[in-house]
């Protein structure tokens, strides 16, 4: 093994025994670490962690937008937990986070299909699949508002034409439909993100592994289970974690579609936060809800993060 800075031969040696060259290499090493880490650290510290900590501080106050704060201790938390929209919001949030599952199913199916050798025009098809994610979510939201409109929307029109329903469904006026509609529209919008990454992961599986499996007489399903699945687990976990986190923080599209209503039925935690912050002008409550959102996010993400750590260890990362 070469005698570079990281080799045990250098680092293992007591300080005073290192050659001058090795010592200066060590210094350079530390310097490199410092300089390389600095931009990221500073950035995250000032732009994220400080406001975050300040937010926790604000959640303990009654803090009007641009006004004078007054201490409330855990008052905001108590108010939120006992509010009638607390459970409504949690339920809406959990249902909305299911869009991640729908995205995964769609992405996996499409990626597997597109990986097949006999499929033509692959680059074109891949590009087409990407479209929904390529547009700003508010644009996608606007398209779906148009398509789902009970009186002039195409979807309503065909549902009635084909006799599936007799009367237009008022997607956003019905408590249950509203929640599921925003979830499904979110799924339509964001699934390509998962698709991209899963497909890339699929494409890198060496053909030899499949051939080997065939030699052993594995059928389609068995090949999937023993070759495909282990190889894409990592990618799946990565995208699930990312999309769960991002979906939970989404506000613009669901608010545009349903306005947080009817009542509070579609006021997922992030929307509730927005309403408190910018419509009631109450930053204290907004950050309180924000803390709940962080907790919910961590709870939902934790199992996948743990699985991911385990996966890394298995693969020797």
């Amino acid at each position: 093994m070469a005698r570079t800075i990281d080799s045990p031969a250098v680092k293992g040696r007591p300080e005073r025994d290192r050659t001058r060259r090795q010592r200066s290499a060590l210094v350079e090493d530390r310097w490199l670490i410092f300089v390389f880490l600095l931009p990221t650290t500073l950035f995250m510290l000032f732009l994220l962690w400080l406001p975050f900590l300040q937010g926790i501080w604000m959640s303990l106050h009654n803090w009007p937008f641009m006004g004078e704060p007054s201490w409330r201790g855990l008052g905001n938390y108590r108010d939120f937990l006992t509010a009638d929209y607390f459970w409504t919001s949690i339920e809406a949030t959990l249902i909305y986070s299911l869009s991640t599952l729908f995205q995964l199913i769609l992405a996996l199916a499409a990626a597997l299909a597109l990986k097949q050798a006999f499929v033509p025009a692959k680059p074109l098809l891949r590009g087409v699949m990407l479209i929904a994610y390529a547009m700003p979510p508010v644009v996608v939201g606007a398209i779906w508002l148009f398509l789902l409109d009970p009186s002039l929307g195409m979807i309503t029109y065909y549902l009635i034409e084909f006799g599936i329903i007799d009367f237009p469904i008022y997607w956003f006026a019905d408590n249950t439909w509203a929640k599921w509609t925003i979830t499904l529209v979110a799924a339509w919008t964001f699934w390509p993100f998962m698709f991209l990454i899963i497909l890339s992961s699929l494409q890198a599986i060496p053909q030899s592994q499949y051939e080997l499996a065939e030699v052993y007489g594995a059928n389609l399903w068995q090949r999937f289970l023993t070759v495909t699945w282990p190889n894409i687990q990592g990618a799946i976990l990565v995208v699930v974690i990312l999309r769960l986190a991002f979906n939970l923080a989404k506000i613009d599209q669901p608010f545009q579609l349903a306005g947080g209503g009817p009542g509070y039925e579609t006021s997922v935690l992030s929307i509730l936060m927005y309403r408190f912050a910018f419509m009631s002008g109450d930053f204290g409550m907004a950050f309180t809800v924000g803390m709940f959102l962080v907790v919910v996010t961590v709870i939902l993400l934790a199992p996948f993060a743990i699985l991911y750590q385990r996966h890394l260890r298995q693969v020797g990362g």
Binding site: W49, L114, F118, L130, L147, G153, A245, M273, Y274, T297
Partner: protein, 276 residues
């Protein structure tokens, strides 16, 4: 490409799946495209082919809403965001992947863990700070704001990739007399091309599609992006003009797809294997 040994079952499943997915994607989007070419009154009828191809909505979009400017702004916002994401995340990711130092793991997860943070709450503090330090209504201000959600996951993806590269590369370079930094610059970076392109692309999409931050941090004269323009011109007064909106969706969707065509290959190489 090996010869095709797939079974009929495979073929059926594949084509069925593809049809469903393509239908799901193309039918809504296709209808939007068709609507973009309809004369105004026909927007309100359900038809798949305009009775006459009308560019009225297109004219409105460019003449009244000056949309081309906003598209350009979006492009700049996205590109700058992409470049900055790599510039900020890359050095850090490399260090986290290759170097040992105390508290490395917890430190890494503190940075990546910011993904769980609801970004909307940062809008006001950031806007005020930006105004005070003169970044308000500037591209640089937008680029920096987008980093808040671009850097954590860029770092995650980058680190994973670096960690998987063979160790002996830098060591070999140093045997030949390179310093640490030179080893990084001349050996690692070129090898990291796939992941860099991937992160560039994903960060670009973030900047291109963002609405909340772009809305707060820009005014009409400044670098207002397409996302904001679409919203204010068609829904800001709560009156939605469907025709022009569909045109804008077309326009807003195409550049990223084009960019994807270039980035595809690299995306594949990045997420190969276990995706750490």
């Amino acid at each position: 490409m090996t010869d095709d040994r797939s079974t009929p079952l495979q073929k059926i499943l594949t084509y069925a799946t593809l049809s469903v997915v393509l239908a799901l994607v193309l039918i809504p989007y296709g209808y939007a495209i068709v609507t973009a070419f309809k004369p105004p009154y026909e927007v309100y009828e359900v038809s798949w082919w305009p009775s006459e191809i009308s560019f009225g909505a297109w004219r409105d979009v460019f003449a009244i809403n000056h949309f081309h400017l906003y598209l350009w702004n979006s492009l700049i916002a996205g590109l700058g965001s992409a470049v900055l994401a790599v510039a900020i995340a890359l050095p850090g990711a490399y260090i986290f992947a290759r170097k040992e130092f105390p508290f490395r793991e917890p430190f890494f997860y503190i940075i990546v863990g910011t993904l769980v943070f609801p970004f909307i709450l940062l809008i006001v503090p950031i806007t005020i700070v930006w105004i005070r330090i003169g970044l308000f209504d500037t591209f640089l201000g937008l680029w920096l704001a987008f980093q808040i959600f671009a850097v954590p996951y860029s770092m995650w993806i980058l680190r994973g990739y670096f960690a998987r590269l063979p160790r002996h590369l830098e060591e070999a370079a140093q045997v030949y007399g390179c310093t640490q930094f030179q080893a990084f610059w001349r050996v690692m970076l070129p090898m990291a091309k796939p992941v860099i392109v991937s992160v560039l692309f994903l960060a670009f999409l973030q900047g291109w599609s963002d609405f909340l931050f772009s809305n707060m941090l820009t005014t009409g004269d400044g670098p207002r992006t397409a996302a904001v323009a679409i919203y204010t011109s068609t829904a800001g007064g709560e009156r939605v003009e469907w025709g022009p909106l569909m045109v804008m969706t077309l326009l807003a969707g195409i550049p990223p797809v084009v960019l994807y065509m270039f980035a595809q290959k690299h995306l594949a190489r990045t997420f190969a294997g276990a995706g750490h």
